[in-house]
């Protein structure tokens, strides 16, 4: 009885959100690139209350349903970015090599105009990630681009699996070893951060287990950091690990094997191509840049053919942005795998749809155009892998969030006419392609590493 009251009350609270954020719409007569089930010519898609309920020819919708004529257009699943830092007010909690207790989901910013600009590039979902300052960073949040909402809660993709950011190599080593003079200062030290965290979390779990069985009298001290690591050990959190070099990728896989952890997506993973067979054997996935390289030493021996080599070796691969700029044209980034590695259209489109969905554990809900999936759709005037294509309309949960024919020049939500310091220029820092180390430089300002700081500031790329 009590549970029923709780559920009813909860439903009452949730209903308005469900109502506002899910719509019905009929798309008529487009070329539908389903990604998983081939291409349909002159076909319709009907979305009802945010879900795809029908795909076929000459579909009829109830009178009054919003209808979009997609004649001559290409309709694809909403693009998914498995690595971004838009729509959050904080990126790095760079205070310890392990900050598993923090969550960027607590810093969501629905007013960020970058969300709209991503929508204008067909992106409906992004993975708002913690930065790469710490070997074990904070937990991340999978968000839907419902630009227009002002309540941060409404950005969340409710039900998406929990994820956490890990980081290997130069960034954690620079921030903590060089910056703070604490371990890790090398890739050896980075390994031990993981081994220590997992080992301590096992002891923590054991202590709670014994307490619950009545074997010990006093309860262990509650520790949110260890709770999170314990959840990774239990398989409840997917690791997304910033990584570049082949050796460090192998290192982490070895650590995970020792602790029985299976869910891992390597991020950036510029040298993934060197250990593609090992990644495939482990079942690890890879989320890569299309062509970024040489901005730091650990990406000097890179190749733009990375995504193609990984795909050919059977690794589930996605292409991500990690940038306010690239997120606006991930379809171009995916198309680059056709110049660099000859991927076919379906393979290239999978890199920005179903594959990132798999990496985020949401592929049963989004990432392809199938009946029963959520109504996240991007419509283009030409084939999305043509360099000349222009996104026309982006739909999230059956609601049009971007329409090129109804696009006001100023799409900000947070204009304050009383701010006498008002300037609509974005900060120079934001204009730089961001930004796995965002927030770190300001934080180091307070320490005495001015030279390092100037160096960080001088960076164009800080991934």
């Amino acid at each position: 009885m009590n549970t029923r009251i709780i559920y009813t009350t909860l439903l009452c609270f949730l209903l308005p959100f469900i109502g506002f954020n899910q719509g019905s719409i009929l798309i008529k007569n487009g070329t539908i690139l389903t990604v998983t089930k081939g291409t349909l010519q002159n076909a319709d898609i009907f979305m009802e209350n945010g879900k795809i309920t029908d795909i076929g020819k000459n579909l009829k919708a109830p009178v009054g349903t919003k209808t979009v004529d997609a004649t001559g257009m290409f309709v694809m699943p909403g693009i998914i970015d498995a690595h971004s830092h838009i729509a959050i007010d904080a990126v790095n909690e760079a205070t310890s090599p392990n900050t598993a207790d923090v969550n960027v989901g607590d810093a969501l910013n629905p007013l960020d105009v970058a969300i709209y600009r991503a929508l204008a590039g067909g992106v409906t979902i992004s993975h708002a990630m913690h930065g790469s300052a710490n070997a074990i960073g904070g937990q991340c949040e999978t968000i839907k681009h419902r630009y227009g909402v002002v309540n941060p809660e409404e950005l969340r993709m409710v039900g998406a699996p929990r994820t956490i950011k890990f980081a290997l190599g130069e960034n954690p080593v620079r921030v903590h070893g060089e910056g703070n003079k604490i371990s890790p200062a090398t890739r050896m030290g980075v390994e031990q951060v993981f081994r220590q965290a997992f080992s301590e979390a096992k002891l923590y779990m054991k202590a709670w287990d014994e307490y619950k069985k009545g074997l010990i009298l006093n309860s262990p001290m509650y520790n949110r950091r260890l709770e999170t690591i314990a959840d990774i050990l239990k398989g409840n959190i997917i690791i997304h690990c910033h990584s570049y070099r082949a050796d460090e990728i192998l290192m982490l896989m070895n650590v995970l094997k020792d602790f029985g952890i299976e869910k891992i997506c390597f991020q950036h993973v510029n040298e993934g191509f060197k250990v593609a067979p090992e990644l495939a054997a482990f079942g690890a996935s890879a989320s890569v840049f299309s062509d970024w390289w040489a901005y730091k030493f650990e990406v000097y021996y890179s190749t733009a053919y990375n995504a193609a080599i990984l795909t050919r070796n059977g690794v589930v691969t996605s292409i991500n942005s990690d940038s306010d700029e690239l997120i606006r044209h991930l379809y171009l980034e995916a198309a680059k795998t056709q110049r660099y590695g000859d991927l076919n259209d379906d393979e290239a489109l999978a890199l920005i749809t179903i594959n990132p969905a798999k990496q985020l554990g949401i592929d049963h809900r989004v990432g392809s155009i199938e009946i029963g999936k959520e109504g996240d759709i991007a419509i283009f005037d030409k084939h999305p892998l043509s360099v000349y294509t222009i996104p026309q309309m982006t739909i999230v949960d059956g609601i049009i969030r971007f329409d090129i024919n109804n696009d006001a020049p100023d799409m900000r939500l947070d204009v304050n006419p009383e701010d006498k310091f008002a300037s609509d220029y974005l900060e120079e820092a934001l204009l730089k392609e961001d930004n796995c180390l965002q927030g770190v430089s300001e934080w180091l300002l307070q320490s005495d590493h001015a030279s390092y700081l100037r160096f960080i500031y001088s960076q164009r790329h800080s991934h």
């Binding site: 105009v113 709209y116 600009r117 204008a120 130069e170 191509f273 060197k274 593609a276 067979p277 090992e278 495939a280 062509d291 970024w292 390289w293 040489a294 901005y295 730091k296 030493f297 000097y300 021996y301 890179s302 190749t303 733009a304 053919y305 193609a308 080599i309 700029e325 606006r328 044209h329 171009l332 680059k336 056709q338 110049r339 660099y340 590695g341 892998l385 043509s386 360099v387 000349y388 294509t389 222009i390 696009d407 020049p409 100023d410 799409m411 900000r412 204009v415 310091f421 008002a422 300037s423 609509d424 220029y425 974005l426 900060e427 120079e428 934001l430 204009l431 160096f455 960076q459 790329h461």
Partner: protein, 435 residues
């Protein structure tokens, strides 16, 4: 004894084979020189339309474009039936050859210390062996302007061809003094200076460049007087010497300026000082097109793939920027302003093409237009008889991602389409040993 020699030579041969095998993994294949006859391709001349013709390359020049060309006996023929021939792309602003690994400061040579150092020459520091150079070539980029940046007068940039073993071999005949125009307005919402402070800071910044220019003019006057009287200079002043051609209007000044207000100030400044100006960056040029046109300002804009600088700007402002300026009649070139990813130049042009510019005009922005701006359009920027043989052969539209660039020529050299990226692909697409 004979046995020993045999043994020794066996060892020697073994080592030679061993060494060459190892070396070959590290090196790009050598370029081959002509004459070459490119037969029956669709020529995208840029300046004289598109047509099917043969092209004879001899030495470093395109010696003939047409049909039934008489060729030397040692000519190598390349059948271009169904293929497309374009002039090499020119990037109007990069750090290529000056920046190797951007996070490692000792590998970066594009910013010397000092605020007034126009005499610092990019050409001196160009690294012909930069790993990024072959990576850039594979997308059809044959020529770039590499430049110093950051300070107010950071140095002199140089136009280089992306092939050669010394900077001198690469030099493509144009240099340009760079300037970064002071950015004086409010920098963003976290810039909490009062309006008065902003005004003061702005006046101070303008005062600084005005002082430099007043001195430069005076220096030029004295220099001319000394020349007339055939007297030697009394002091060593390389900074002022570097500015002489600009002050005398013999050379253009390349001014980096992006925001609308700054562009307006910069136009006023070059007008007052009678400077032949090329504006670079010009991210908000679309907001001041008529001002730029009226004052005959030439523009090198980009990257096109850039986040608009204002939160209030339309999402496609950067995509449309070049198009708006071209439509206003301004001479526009497109740049990437990149180092390791200058290879994205054609895709920057393609985005401008889609958002209003059109493919033909976009192509001009990375061929003949930069050639005109740098004053080398007699030898670069199109496929015409007598021009430098910088061109490539593709199996389709070179802006499209599915297209392959199959051959690339720089100064008549057939340069292999190999780079670190292709070599790593060849090695790892099927790794041996595998798992």
């Amino acid at each position: 004894m004979l046995y020993k020699i045999q043994k020794f030579s066996q060892v020697l041969i073994f080592f030679c084979v061993f060494l060459t095998q190892n070396m070959s993994a590290q090196q790009i294949k050598k370029a081959v020189s002509g004459p070459f006859l490119l037969k029956n391709g669709t020529v995208h001349s840029v300046t004289n339309g598109n047509f099917i013709a043969d092209i004879l390359i001899q030495g470093d020049k395109i010696v003939s474009v047409g049909k039934n060309i008489v060729t030397p006996s040692n000519t190598q023929e390349i059948d271009c039936t169904g293929k497309h021939i374009y002039p090499g792309f020119i990037d109007g602003g990069t750090r290529l050859g000056l920046a190797e690994i951007e996070s490692i400061s000792v590998t970066n040579d594009f910013h010397e210390l000092g605020d007034f150092i126009p005499h610092m020459k990019a050409l001196t520091a160009i690294n012909p062996n930069s790993v990024s150079i072959p990576v850039t070539r594979v997308n059809g980029v044959t020529t770039v302007f590499s430049k110093p940046e950051r300070s107010t007068f950071p140095g002199t940039g140089a136009l280089i061809d992306l092939f050669g073993y010394t900077p001198e071999q690469m030099y493509a005949g144009a240099e340009g003094v760079m300037m970064t125009f002071p950015s004086t307005g409010r920098r963003g919402r976290f810039d909490r200076r009062s309006d008065e402070d902003i005004k003061k800071d702005s006046e101070k910044a303008m005062q600084k460049i005005n002082d430099i220019w007043t001195k430069a003019k005076l220096y030029a006057t004295i220099d001319s007087a000394l020349a007339v009287e055939k007297k030697p200079k009394s002091s060593y002043n390389p900074q002022m010497d570097a500015l002489l051609p600009v002050v005398r209007k013999e050379a253009k000044l390349f001014i980096e300026v992006n925001k609308k207000d700054d562009i307006e100030l910069a136009v006023k400044w070059v007008k007052e000082n009678g400077i032949r100006a090329v504006f670079t960056g010009v991210a908000e040029g679309s907001r001041v097109t008529s001002l730029l046109k009226e004052n005959n300002i030439e523009v090198i804009t980009g990257p096109v793939l850039r986040v608009p600088g204002r939160g209030s700007a339309p999402f496609d402002e950067s995509y449309r920027n070049a198009s708006e300026m071209v439509k206003a009649g301004i001479l526009v070139a497109i740049r990437t302003n990149d180092a390791e990813n200058v290879r994205n130049l054609p895709f920057n042009a393609a985005y401008a093409a889609s958002f209003g510019l059109g493919i033909e005009e976009a192509l001009k922005c990375i061929t003949i237009n930069p050639a005109k701006i740098f004053g080398v359009d007699k030898t670069y920027g199109s496929i015409e008889q007598g021009k430098t043989a910088n061109l490539f052969i593709s199996n389709g539209d070179p802006f499209e991602l599915k297209t392959r660039i199959e051959y690339l020529f720089i100064r008549g050299w057939n340069v292999p389409m190999e780079s670190r990226h292709t070599l790593l692909y060849d090695e790892f697409i099927e790794r041996n040993p595998g798992k």
